[in-house]
Amino acid sequence: LLWKESWELAKNPMASKGSPLHGPRIKLIEKAQQLFSETKEHIFESKAAEEHAKLLRIQHDLEVTTKQAIFVDSSISDTIRTCIVLGNHRTAMKVKTEFKVSERRWYWLKVFALATIRDWDALEKF
């Protein structure tokens, strides 16, 4: 069990070392998730790995649609902020529901993002 744990840990950072090929990376993370889910103590890690893989997929899609390589490897919060800054409120909303982002965090992110682009009108309304 200990052996497995250390193995997975070694793999996780290895996977996130940012190879441009996302396919194998996502697969690695999913494999890690499976391994984590085999033991009872690692439910949290398993969920985190699952979300990580999901996030990478969304980020990958976003990069394709926006043609900007700025999404991969940023956190969920960063992704939402970037979406709002780019005026893509629908995707931001989608990410929010996808990862069950709490209302409170959502408000902070939105306020910061709107302040960055100085969209005071939207800030006022919101």
Binding site: K47, S74, W108, F112
Partner: protein
């Protein structure tokens, strides 16, 4: 020590290029001047991933035994070979060679090209009363990776000290690493006894303390002058580096190194004071100087009075230096965010209002404030509560990963392994510890302190309270409290030394004034394994200066740390 380094260079004839580990250069510069190196025909370079450009045919590497550094060296040698350059390579490990490192060299097939040696740099004096082992990763290596090489190193350093100062009769240790060091030291003393004909040893007591025992103190923001300088500007090997404009020098964008040690008399006077008081003291000094000046210019003075005045003027550069620094610091300390954090630290240490703290930290994460700041408070939160309830623990972990990225799962794992941020498994005993050791002191007078709690404006550092007890009476009276803190404790007393009857009386007690022959007070060496903060050193200096204190205190540490640098080692 300096001689050894020069000997290494002397033994290698002709021009040579000395390539040193950048992490070592600061501490080495405290021992050897770079001009001295040049005298011996050495070119000085830092070891980086970049190949070294030099005409020298002799390369001398001076590095810590770290695996990644070995890779740099290998690639440099390969690079030379590819270019067809024939060079001689010398490799010196600081402080000693490691099998794993040599294995890499063998794998890369460069081992036989190197002449390998050791440069036993054990203790570096950072100041008159502070020694450092310069092991910056010791804490993390021990608690996360279970690597205890550094403990041997620490014991060896202390044993070497004993050869100059006599065997230390009393050893008190608290914490897993500390008791191990005490054991190793014991064995070394048996294997290689110190032949002492010096009578009473100069160091009376050795107190070993794990950083792990008190992780609360470093997580709090230090409020002494030197402590604040370290928190905001980062003190490195007794100097801070900052923009020259701050120091009033008109040189755009240039960095300036300001030395900070006790050879600066004003600094020696104010370094340990609470910052509030430092500002007052500086103002007072400035006004008195101004007064003197007006007196000089309005009335006729005798020559001796003039001389006094000129003498005072000599301290002017120091005054300007510290007024500039203090002014720069106050731009940080007056920020609402800093005051808010202090307030929160106070609340956490008092451990009374769980929900308030939880919400504050949650909001910090939501606002994506700097990760290290968040983790500092979170660690403080976790320790004072003996961990967090599972629900809150998982919630905060999830929010952290969402806000800062999933790669930090490794960071969280490190912190959990180190016991710094974890699930609650038992009721917190922080309140008991806090009460028993009087860690929170009401009405702390920062101007005329009568207790060490002045360094944190009301919180007396746990570590130093323990030291206080250890010096006064040993562990026995506080054994119940010690059991509540992490790690075992041990206490040994060696007697039977020739001509030292004083050891038969109660050692360490206040009424037992042991004096070394020339009337100096004997020493207590306090060693922090895993680092010490400036505020704690200040508190120890304060203890040492108290009336009725029978000892001078010397501080030994693996590294000078603060909450920031400590947490940083855990972040992946």
């Amino acid at each position: 020590m300096a001689q050894k380094q020069i000997n290494i260079l002397k033994n290698i004839r002709g021009k040579k290029c000395l390539v040193i580990d950048p992490k070592l250069s600061g501490s080495l510069s405290l021992i050897v001047q770079s001009s001295q190196l040049k005298e011996h025909g050495a070119e000085l370079r830092h070891l980086t991933t970049e190949p070294v450009e030099t005409d020298c045919t002799k390369m001398v590497y001076l590095v810590r035994a770290q695996l990644n550094l070995m890779k740099f060296i290998c690639s440099q040698i390969h690079n030379d070979t590819l270019k067809g350059l024939q060079k001689e390579y010398f490799l010196y490990f600081v402080p000693r060679r490691a099998v794993a490192c040599e294995k890499i060299l063998e794998d890369e097939k460069v081992h036989e090209m190197l002449i390998i040696g050791e440069y036993p740099l054990y203790l570096i004096p950072l100041d008159e009363d502070v020694l450092s082992f310069e092991l910056d990763l010791a804490h993390k290596e021990c608690v996360v990776n279970g690597d205890t090489t550094s403990l041997w190193h620490i014991a060896k350093s202390i044993h070497k000290l004993e050869f100059s100062f006599g065997t230390i009769p009393n050893v008190r240790a608290k914490g897993k690493a500390s008791t191990r060091v005490a054991d190793i030291l014991n064995r070394m003393q048996a294997e290689e006894p110190v032949t002492s004909d010096m009578g009473i040893p100069e160091i009376n007591t050795l107190i070993l303390l794990d950083r792990e025992v008190d992780m609360v103190t470093p997580m709090c923001s230090q409020l002494t002058y030197e402590g604040l300088l370290d928190e905001f500007l980062g003190v490195n090997n007794g100097a801070v580096e900052l923009d020259s404009s701050i120091m009033g020098v008109q040189q755009e964008g240039k960095k300036l190194k300001v030395p900070l040690n006790s050879s600066d008399k004003l600094f020696k006077e104010i370094r340990d004071m609470n910052f509030e008081v430092v500002v007052q003291v500086l103002r007072q000094k400035a006004t008195s100087m101004k007064q003197d000046y007006t007196e000089i210019s309005t009335t006729t003075q005798s020559v001796s009075e003039l001389k006094d005045f000129v003498k005072k003027l000599n301290s002017l550069p120091e005054m300007t230096r510290h007024i500039n620094l203090a002014q720069h610091l106050s731009t940080f300390t007056s920020k609402p965010s800093f005051l808010g954090r202090l307030d929160m630290e106070q609340t956490l240490v008092e451990a009374q209002s769980y929900d308030v703290c939880f919400e504050y930290i949650e909001e910090m994460i939501h606002k994506q404030e700097p990760l290290i700041n968040v983790l500092r408070l979170l660690v403080l939160f976790s320790i004072t509560n003996s961990g967090l309830p599972k629900k809150n623990f998982d919630y905060l972990r999830r929010e952290l990963l969402h806000s800062y990225g999933f790669e930090h799962i490794a960071t969280l794992n490190n912190l959990e392994k180190a016991g710094l941020f974890r699930k609650q498994d038992s009721k917190s005993n922080w309140l008991t510890v806090k009460r028993a050791l009087q860690l929170v002191v009401e009405d702390t007078d920062t101007t005329n302190p009568n207790d060490i709690s002045y360094v944190f404006s009301g919180y007396a550092p746990l570590s130093i309270r323990l030291v206080q007890h250890a010096i006064r009476s040993g562990w026995r009276p506080i054994e119940e409290i010690l059991k509540l803190l992490p790690g075992p404790h041990s206490e040994t007393k060696k007697s039977g030394f020739a001509s030292s009857p004083s050891f038969d009386t109660i050692p360490g007690s206040l009424n037992n004034l042991e004096k070394v022959a020339d009337g100096r007070r004997s020493l207590v060496l306090v060693v922090f394994i895993g680092g010490v903060t400036f505020a704690e050193i200040s508190a120890l200096r304060f203890l040492s200066s108290q009336e009725g204190m029978a000892y001078d205190i010397i501080v030994g540490t693996t590294k000078i740390v603060n909450g920031h640098t400590l947490i940083e080692t855990f972040v992946e």
